[in-house]
């Protein structure tokens, strides 16, 4: 049997590739689609998928082609492309090699403008903090524009009219066409190198967006941003802003307006000088008046006008205190005297004379009572005695003798009641009422009738 001839993969692939490349219908194809899976390599080559609702195709755009493109592709962006269909051998995939690509629908320039504006803004090129102040009194004004045309004339006449002492230095530049942006950027760099320009006016007269395009270029924007000399943008387009307008330190709507912003007006300056002089004079004379019033006030102060007040009031106080001192001493004396007087009166009120009188009367009474009591005792005793005596006397047995009886006592004082008691010649005593008789017994006779 005849051995079959096998193709290598590369041979087959090369065959297919040739078929693609030879087909005129697959060259300069115009395709409309949406970008997805967008990748851009450091080499600048772009890889993505172009798709619609039903299908997709891999797409490649090399940097040599993409460089001239004014916008940057993004995922989801609808584009129209022109390119050739070919096969990438190593993977065997067919893809479209894009030669031109434009945004589908909106204008390419507008998209580019928006994209650049957004980027520069995010980078901070428009921020207020980055704006340099425009000098008030520029010695030299640099003007970057076309040396011919209305713009330069308007600027120069305006400056000369307003501020004739300023130098004007024109830095000519292309302001339209492909080379305009690098020309403007160069002029800005040159102006910075010259070291004598105080302010730059960069601009041109009005025109279409394409005519003004240089002022929307990144190159110009960066040159303006990097300029150390303050830049006034003056693109004659009253309604829309260019990127340059956003980056510039100041934006003027027209070249004439830029000139007006760049320099002051000499009449205003003259007026300003006069005003400053007046203000100085006013503040000086105000100051003088203020200080003079201040001094007057101090000099007119009570303390200085009537210095005697410094001591007069104190003198009054001293006098008052002295008076109080005298009064206080006097009152103290009164108090002490009053105290003494009161106590003295109390003392005198308690004079012992009364006690003495009481003692005397007590004494007298006792003495009298004692005398009376003593006498009474004496009299009582005496009366008692007298009574007993009289009774005794009344009972006296001697009273019998009054009737003639007498009592006979023996010599030894014994009452003789019987003759038997007596012997003859015995002395006897006979007691009578008025005396006694001393007798001798001479005879003794015994009674007969005695029983």
């Amino acid at each position: 049997m005849q051995e079959k001839k096998y193709l290598s993969v590369i041979a087959l692939t090369k065959y297919i590739k040739r078929k693609f490349d030879a087909d005129p219908h697959l060259q300069d194809v115009h395709v409309r689609g949406e970008i997805s899976n967008f990748k851009q390599h450091s080499s600048g080559h772009m890889y993505f998928t172009l798709k619609d609702d039903k299908a997709r195709i891999l797409a490649v755009m090399f940097s040599s082609q993409s460089r001239a493109m004014k916008f940057s592709p993004e995922n989801g962006m609808k584009v129209v492309v022109k390119g050739d269909i070919s096969v990438y051998e190593p993977s065997g995939q067919y893809q479209i090699y894009i030669k031109e690509m434009r945004p589908d629908g909106i204008g390419e320039l507008f998209l580019a403008y928006e994209q650049l504006k957004k980027r520069l803004e995010s980078e901070g090129l428009f921020s207020i903090e980055q704006k340099k102040p425009i000098p008030s009194y520029p010695k030299t004004v640099g003007v970057i524009t076309s040396p011919t045309g209305a713009a330069i004339r308007d600027i120069i006449t305006t400056i000369k009219r307003r501020y004739p002492i300023a130098n004007i230095l024109v830095l000519p530049a292309l302001v339209q066409g492909e080379n305009a942006a690098p020309s403007i950027a160069r002029a800005i760099e040159k102006a910075n190198k010259m070291d004598e320009i105080d302010v730059l006016i960069v601009g041109r007269g009005g025109g279409s967006i394409e005519e003004l395009w240089a002022f929307n270029e990144e190159l110009v924007a960066r040159a303006i941003f990097q300029s150390l000399v303050p830049v006034i943008s003056a693109v004659g387009h009253e309604t829309d802003f260019t990127i340059a307008d956003f980056v510039a330190d100041m934006r003027a709507p027209t070249p004439t307006a830029a000139a007006e912003l760049a320099v002051p007006h000499i009449d205003e300056l003259m007026e300003r000088l006069l005003q400053r002089k007046t203000r100085m004079l006013q503040s000086m004379s105000g100051r003088y008046r203020y200080e003079k019033q201040r001094l007057d006030r101090a000099q007119r102060s009570y303390a200085f006008r009537y210095p005697q007040r410094l001591y007069e009031q104190k003198l009054e106080h001293v006098d008052k205190l002295t008076e109080l001192l005298v009064r206080g001493a006097s009152r103290l004396m009164d108090v002490k005297k009053g105290q003494h007087e009161t106590i003295h009166k109390r003392l005198v009120r308690n004079h012992p004379r009364i006690a003495l009188r009481e003692a005397e009367s007590r004494f007298d009474r006792s003495q009298k009572d004692m005398g009376r009591a003593m006498i009474q005792i004496f009299l009582k005793k005496q009366t008692q005695f007298e009574k007993v005596i009289s009774t005794l006397q009344a009972l006296s047995p001697l009273k019998i003798m009054d009737r003639g009886y007498s009592l006979v006592y023996s010599e030894d004082n014994v009452l003789i009641k019987s003759i038997n008691q007596v012997r003859e010649n015995e002395p006897l005593q006979i007691q009578l009422t008025d005396g006694s008789l001393l007798c001798n017994v001479t005879n003794i006779k015994e009674s007969e009738n005695r029983e």
Binding site: G371, I375, F378, K381, Q384, T391, L392, P397, L415
Partner: protein, 77 residues
């Protein structure tokens, strides 16, 4: 009698009154009655002397007192 000098006025008076009482009873023998009476008279003298003495002392004290008081025993009675 001598020890009777030492008795008080009131004792003497008591004795005296007893004697009087006895005498008043009446049935005292005369001889006894006389004896009582005699004793009574002596006691009487004793009391009288004591009274006299007191009277004299009273007068003397008053005189010593130096103040002339017009009191005499008689007048006061």
């Amino acid at each position: 009698m001598s020890n009777e000098q030492n008795i008080s006025f009131e004792e003497a008076m008591n004795k005296l009154e007893q004697i009087v009482d006895k005498l008043e009873e009446g049935d005292v023998p005369l001889e006894a009655a006389i004896a009582f009476y005699k004793e009574g008279m002596e006691l009487s003298k004793l009391c009288h002397d004591k009274l006299k003495n007191v009277e004299e002392q009273l007068t003397q004290i008053i005189t010593e007192d130096g103040r002339k008081q017009n009191f005499t025993i008689e007048e006061e009675v």
